[in-house]
């Protein structure tokens, strides 16, 4: 009865002797032997009967005989010890059987001969389930990674949007202020000019009087002298020209700022036309190298001409501002390299300098209006914000990366055909949408 039971057990049971020759196999093994071998399997070495992992099986059997201690093997590390097909050759996903094996040392009760009993378990179902789970978890992990990336992208897009918003509101404010200040500056300037003339007239009169002094009577001479003296005429004469000169200078500065603010808000009149970026770049190099001679200037472009549709004024202004920054970053020696890359739909301009670079903590703020690290009175902190607004108006993208003491790269990408800038509200809507698109995917 036990013989039958062991024979029919749903696990493989095989017994081998110390020479690894088969003593017994149950039905589990027999069913999987080639038909012609089912009667003559006894006394055959087990590794000949089941070829494949012979070396491994021998090693394990040896260990069991030597140590008299069970040995285990799992499908995860060694899935197919015996070359058996999956028990579901028609419908199963796996073609080979996954196996767990256990070898136990046993002894023949009658002869005392040392034997080893091999238990083989078919774990194909578990293995295939496990592997499916693993695939699933890998897929999940991938998806998770993708989501993380997306979230990061969204984060950047959001901060870009915030930046854009800031710029827009500051731009409006700046336009308003510029307009308001322009009027008083106008009359102050006119008055100041007149005042200068009047002052020179007054001085001429006084000087005339002083020149004619000797022809006056002594009494009158004394009185006039006293008058000059009491009003500190000499000091007044020197100071008045100086004061007016300084005021005019100050006013010019105010006018410059207002001009820049107006540029910042980009109230341009020229309108969209064809702009040759290469020509603009060459022009700028000539212009800037005259003023900043320390750096070496290089220009690189595969084409003679690269044209975009755009507003020449703001575009030039933007490039100019970036270039000036680059030039100012170089104190003694260095280079500035302009590269224009042409692609079917857009143009990329790279401005690279080997200058002092921008500290990381400042990098975030460089496009902010009025952000500057220059001493007071030497910079208005509007250069890059003007450039930003100009490029944004062209639905382009400007980005900056920098390493302190190594240099800075500013990359500007402008689409060749800007979206229609129709004045109607519908058009504006479209523009805004396009802007958002370019921010996200730019």
């Amino acid at each position: 009865m036990f013989e039958q039971l062991v024979g029919k057990l749903p696990v493989g049971i095989g017994i081998v002797d110390e020479n690894f020759k088969v003593v017994y196999l149950n039905d589990f093994f027999l069913d999987r032997l080639p038909y012609n071998m089912r009667d003559c399997y006894k006394e055959t070495p087990v590794v000949e009967l089941f070829q494949g992992q012979g070396k491994f099986l021998k090693r394990r059997l040896k260990s069991v005989f030597v140590l008299q201690h069970p040995s285990f093997s799992y499908w995860e590390q060694r899935p197919h010890i015996f070359p058996f097909k999956s028990s579901r050759p028609i419908t199963g996903e796996e073609t080979q059987m996954y196996q767990n094996m256990e070898i136990l040392p046993i002894k023949d009760k009658n002869t005392g001969q040392k034997l080893a009993c091999i238990f083989l378990q078919d774990v194909t179902a578990q293995a295939s389930y496990f592997r499916a789970q693993q695939k699933l978890s890998e897929a999940l992990k991938k998806e998770h990674e993708a989501q993380k990336k997306l979230i990061r992208k969204l984060d950047t897009a959001q901060s870009q949007l915030i930046q854009a918003e800031k710029m827009a509101s500051t731009g409006q404010l700046a336009a308003g202020i510029a307009h308001e200040i322009n009027n008083p500056i106008g009359f102050v300037n006119a008055n100041l000019n007149t005042l200068e003339q009047y002052a020179s007239h007054l001085i001429a009169i006084c000087d005339g009087v002083q020149g004619q002094l000797e022809y006056f009577t002594d009494e009158l001479k004394e009185q006039i002298d006293a008058l000059f003296e009491s009003n500190h005429y000499d000091l007044l004469k020197d100071d008045i020209t100086e004061l007016i000169g300084e005021s005019t200078d100050g006013l010019t500065r105010v006018k410059d700022i207002v001009e820049n603010l107006k540029n910042f808000s980009l109230e341009t009149t020229e309108g969209v036309q064809i702009v040759d970026i290469c020509a603009v770049c060459r022009q700028l190099i000539t212009l800037i190298s005259a003023q900043y001679s320390a750096p070496q200037y290089k220009f690189e472009c595969e084409h003679e001409k690269v044209e975009v549709m755009g507003n020449p004024g703001p575009l030039k202004q933007a490039l100019m501002n970036v270039m000036i920054n680059a030039a100012q970053a170089i104190k003694d020696k260095g280079f500035i390299k302009l590269t224009v890359l042409n692609s079917p739909k857009s143009v990329t301009i790279k401005i690279l300098d080997s200058g002092c670079g921008i500290p990381t903590k400042h990098l975030k703020r460089v496009f902010e209006p009025f952000f500057t690290t220059k001493p007071e009175g030497q910079g208005q902190g509007l250069g890059l914000s003007v450039a930003y607004t100009a490029i944004e108006q062209h639905h382009g993208k400007i980005s900056i990366s920098s390493k302190e003491a190594k240099g800075t790269v500013v990359e500007i990408t402008i689409p060749k055909q800007p979206a229609a800038q129709a004045p109607s509200s519908e058009g504006d809507e479209e523009n805004k949408e396009n802007e958002a698109e370019s921010l996200k995917f730019g």
Binding site: K62, L67, H69
Partner: protein, 194 residues
């Protein structure tokens, strides 16, 4: 360690001696199989809390961990910590071909643990005349948080270290017994001592 051992002095000495013998047998088994000399440390016996067990075992750097449970007259678990260093030399001794795949390494680790833990347990239960059966070993990735939440308070641990002389490989085997088994073992030790 501040916790009072659940064993008295005599029981402890006896157990240590028994362990020493069985560990020696285990080392011998492995030495036979891989034909090289193996050194063993003096067995340590102590009582630990789950958190202490964690730091005793799993705060080793560059190590593999396995666990294996045993049933029978006494119940418990054997945990092993294997050094990553020197494993390839041992693999060569165990007749594995270079280069080792991830699966090969896992298989070697499991087999080493099985041999050593099995031999130790067999030796110990032989001498105490207790019948035990060792289940298959599995790789173990312990998590400290889980250890802090374990239900038991104290456990008796028996620890021994195997060092393979010709390589930098070393391995620690730690036996833990549950309360019931501990009581049974104490009785058996008393019988032996009587």
């Amino acid at each position: 360690m501040s916790i009072v051992l659940p064993l008295d002095e005599e029981q402890r000495d006896a157990l240590q001696e028994l362990l020493n013998i069985s560990m020696g047998q285990a080392a011998n088994s492995l030495a036979q199989l891989i034909e090289t000399k193996i050194d063993i440390s003096i067995p340590k016996i102590s009582a630990v809390t789950p958190t202490q067990l964690y730091s005793l075992l799993f705060e080793t750097e560059d190590a593999f961990y396995t666990r294996q449970s045993f049933l029978g007259d006494v119940h418990g678990e054997v945990m092993s910590v294997l050094s990553q260093a020197g494993l390839s030399e041992v693999a060569t001794l165990m007749d594995y071909d270079e280069p080792l795949s991830k699966e090969d390494i896992q298989e070697i680790i499991l087999e080493l643990c099985n041999i050593l833990a099995g031999a130790c347990l067999a030796g110990l239960s032989d001498q105490l005349e207790l019948a035990t059966n060792l289940n298959m070993p599995t790789l173990f990735l312990p998590d400290k948080a889980n250890f802090d939440e374990l239900q038991w308070q104290h456990s008796l641990v028996m620890e021994v270290q195997f060092i393979i002389a010709i390589s930098s490989f070393s391995m620690r085997v730690v036996f833990c017994l549950d309360d019931e088994s501990l009581a049974r073992m104490k009785d058996t030790l008393d019988e032996l001592l009587a």
